[in-house]
């Protein structure tokens, strides 16, 4: 076992990541054996639908958690983006392409707001999240006059945006999502932004005293997070069509869970995009499998909660051993 852990390939990929992958595969096998008609493309496509928007939320929040912060306004922000842009689309006749841009912009705007308050005013991220969660819900509701918004169907003229998810049975969304994951991974590991975001999560003062403009980079993490929420909104409506004002917070926990499960540490400084992606797939598969076994979503929540506790505990123990 120890030997296995020392194997350079294992080290490179990360032991926890490999374990998580194993969990993912095991779950799939388990569901295939136990569930009705579980194996096969349709279930996977259905699970992917859930994984897309959740994945984008998780990718975004990975950056914020890497700085040692937190953002649990992402769910409501995603809904706000989808509602505002969708309302522009359906009620003001804004073209589809522009609506998608608006969605991303709304997300980025909230990200900027959160980031500014956290980095420049040192408001605790927890409180900023709480406030902007309320604000996002309120703004969405005011903007849409408390109406839910249904995005155009795939068959309609403006339904082309749905091919972002799939064309025929080909999961375009998966390609896009993985591409974004790769981009995020590159940003996090190969660029200045990522270096500083991770470093300031680990030791903010040391980075600041190195003459780095930490405010800028910290804010950037929140902007990335908000922007991702805006993109998540597009994938949400492409899969589920309708968004209702006043909600969205149910997805915060799952997004954060996916990210943390994958090995990103709440203490900041450690983040793994690959882990986040696997974590998200686990949650999405879980929710699909739970349904197939005729259980309710409740069990999914409980199992997710337990997996996160186990994953984080493993992380805590590993760290303690290191120090």
């Amino acid at each position: 076992m120890e030997k296995l852990k020392q194997n350079p390939i294992v080290v490179k990929l990360g032991f926890n990541r490999i374990v998580l992958c194993g969990v993912l595969l095991l779950m799939y096998l388990l569901f295939s054996v136990l569930g009705e008609n579980f194996a096969g493309i349709p279930r996977i496509l259905s699970a992917l639908n859930y994984a897309y928007f959740l994945g984008f939320l998780s990718l975004g929040v990975t950056f914020v958690i890497a700085t040692g912060g937190i953002d649990f306004s992402i769910g409501p922000v995603m809904f706000c983006s989808a509602l505002v842009s969708g309302y522009c689309l359906t009620s003001y006749g804004v073209p589809m392409a522009l609506s998608l841009v608006i969605s991303i912009l709304v997300g980025a705007l909230f990200g900027t707001f959160n980031g500014y308050l956290v980095s420049h005013w040192s408001v605790p991220p927890f409180i900023v999240s709480m406030a902007s969660m309320n604000i996002a819900k309120g703004v969405a509701s005011v903007f849409t006059k408390t109406q839910s918004v249904s995005w155009p169907q795939g068959t309609s003229e403006q339904g082309w945006f749905r091919s972002l998810i799939k064309v025929g049975n080909f999961p375009v969304g998966l390609v896009i999502f993985l591409a974004f994951a790769v981009i995020c991974s590159v940003i996090l590991n190969k660029t200045r932004a990522g270096r500083y975001i991770l470093s300031l999560g680990s030791n903010r003062e040391a980075v600041r005293l190195s003459g780095v403009n930490v405010k800028k980079w910290e804010m950037l993490a929140y902007i990335i997070c908000g922007t991702m929420a805006g993109i998540a909104a597009i994938f949400f409506v492409a899969a589920y069509t309708t968004v209702q004002p006043g909600y969205g917070d149910q997805y915060n926990n799952e997004a954060i869970a996916g990210c943390v499960m994958g090995g990103t540490s709440m203490a900041g400084g450690l983040a793994s995009i690959g882990g986040t992606v696997i974590g998200v797939f686990i949650i999405a598969l879980l929710q699909e499998g739970i349904l197939a076994l005729h259980f309710t979503k409740d069990y999914q929540l409980i199992i997710t909660g337990i997996i996160v506790i186990v994953a984080v505990y493993a992380d805590v123990v590993a760290r303690r051993r290191k120090n």
Binding site: V186, K190, T191, R192, R195, Y196, L198, S199, S202, N203, E205, A206, V207, R208, L209, S210, G211, V212, N213, G269, L270, K322, N323
Partner: protein, 498 residues
């Protein structure tokens, strides 16, 4: 001097990479004040932490009141009567003085804590110690000195039989030190065993009965204070004569230009109207007691803390420094006293830490040029002789001295002309210390200008070309190395300001 109350025999303790205590022995008698001396990192604090159960010893025995004991935590030690007054204050800032003193053993009235009685008892303690502190004051509102007094009161309130003072005087004013000594003499009269850890030679002569000296984690010897001279002790502490050698004269040419000029700098209580000049190739020592405002001055110059007023000139040009970013742009680098908190990012590699201040130079388009980054890091690992298997090593795995070198490398990579070294050798073992000194001298020779903040007199005297002394946020003196001596500096450092 009474019978032996505490004996520590052949205590051995290792941390990963450091042999902190190498079979050290030590004893305390009733009614004596036993000084424990040694350079920083000699192992004094570690020994005391082993005694009070904070660290677990690897081997050796502790005999207390005739029985072999091993305390598993401070609570057990306290209950047995062995109490430590920590160097780093263990106070709970949000609680009151009395609440701090009686934490963990509150007086109770039914289920309620009897704060009134605690205040009374604390007041009695303070009366006994002749200290004027309101027990119901919130701890964080007190000055460092007062907080120290509270710690002492707390120790005494434990009905202690052995009290360890870990550098108690570092933050105290003369008057407060006198108070402290009065208290210690009282305690000695009551047949308590007292361990007194300090750097200050004068104090040792005044207050202690015996002196035990440690060096590099080993026991060097024990002397009767009355029978030895200051030099005897120093020789035992230093082991090498070189330490005692002050720099004889400044290495800086007369005509060296002024690179940094600070005028009337004000930043809170700890920096009041500080002005000085730094010349090219100079090592400017900043001396003073703990809490004198040296670090605060450095941080204000560096833009790490906001300043209220004052002008800074670099090479004669006035500059605005509002953030470390500005300072770094002006060519100033700052090596903090607390590396772990302010210097390095422990979860990152040597290479990543080395380019922390200069990353924009190691980019290939949008991406970090990792090869170039590793290259420059390797260059400095070689030139600073940092001991590490590779530049990809996480900094957390390095020893203190090597971590310090990584921080130095960070600023050298940046090519800063002005370097502020804040306690550059704190927590670094002696061998590495010498290397750091050599390095600083080399840097100065190469034309870098260095501000060195140090609490170690020998360090100040050995390294500085010129010395500025601070006390309570004000500059109280400036001497060239030729005129400097421990006495003159200490005099300035403790001068009461009218």
């Amino acid at each position: 001097m009474g019978e032996v109350i505490l004996t520590m025999k052949e205590i051995d303790k290792s941390f990963p990479g450091v042999h902190a205590l190498d079979h050290v022995s030590f004893e305390v008698r009733k009614g004596e004040v036993h000084a424990l001396m040694g350079e920083n990192g000699a192992g004094k604090s570690t020994l005391m932490k082993v005694l009070t159960g904070i660290y677990k010893k690897d081997s050796g025995t502790i005999v207390y009141e005739g029985k072999e004991v091993e305390f598993h935590n401070t609570r057990e030690a306290q209950d047995a009567g062995v109490v430590i007054v920590h160097q780093e204050l263990n106070m709970l800032g949000h609680l009151t003085v009395a609440q701090n003193i009686f934490i963990g053993r509150e007086f109770k009235k039914g289920i309620a804590i009897d704060d009134k009685k605690m205040n009374e008892e604390a007041a009695k303690l303070f009366d006994m110690l002749h200290i004027d502190i309101d027990p119901s004051e919130t701890m964080s509102n007190l000055t460092v000195g007062k907080q120290q007094m509270c710690e002492i009161a707390k120790a005494i309130s434990h009905k202690a039989k052995v009290i360890v003072f870990d550098e108690p005087s570092a933050a105290l004013t003369e008057a407060e030190i006198d108070e402290l000594f009065k208290i210690i003499r009282d305690l000695r009269k009551q047949q308590l065993g007292i361990v007194y850890i300090s750097h200050r030679m004068d104090e040792i002569k005044v207050i202690t009965d015996r002196v035990t000296v440690m060096r590099d984690g080993t026991y060097v010897g024990t002397l009767i204070t009355e029978e030895c001279t200051k030099d005897d002790i120093i020789n035992m502490m230093v082991g090498r004569v070189i330490y005692e050698d002050p720099k004889q004269h400044s290495m800086v040419p007369e005509n060296a230009p002024v690179v940094l000029k600070v005028e009337h700098l004000n930043a809170g209580r700890m920096v009041q109207d500080v002005s000085f000049e730094l010349r090219k190739g100079e090592i400017l020592g900043f001396s003073g007691l703990m809490g004198a405002g040296r670090t605060e001055t450095a941080r204000a110059i560096f833009g790490a803390d906001p300043k209220e007023s004052g002008d800074i000139y670099i090479n004669g040009t006035k500059v605005t420094i509002n953030s470390p970013e500005d300072a770094v742009k002006c060519g100033i680098g700052y090596l903090s006293e607390d590396r772990k908190r302010y210097g390095i990012v422990v979860q990152k590699t040597i290479a990543e830490n080395s380019t922390m201040a200069t990353l924009e130079k190691y980019m290939k388009g949008l991406f970090i040029n990792k090869r170039a980054e590793r290259g420059i890091a390797q260059e400095y690992v070689d030139s600073l002789a940092t001991k590490t298997p590779s530049v990809d090593q996480l900094v957390v795995n390095l020893s203190g001295g090597n971590q310090q070198k990584v921080v130095i490398a960070k600023w050298l990579v940046r090519n800063c002309d002005i370097l502020i070294f804040d306690e550059p050798t704190r927590g670094i073992d002696v061998g590495a210390k010498n290397e750091i000194y050599k390095l600083m001298n080399k840097l100065a020779e190469e034309g870098k200008s260095i501000i060195m903040i140090s609490s170690e007199m020998t360090e100040i005297l050995r390294m500085s070309d010129r010395i500025i002394v601070m006390c309570e946020g004000k500059k109280t003196g400036e001497v060239d190395i030729e005129e400097a001596s421990q006495e003159t500096i200490m005099n300035m450092a403790t001068r009461e300001i009218s």
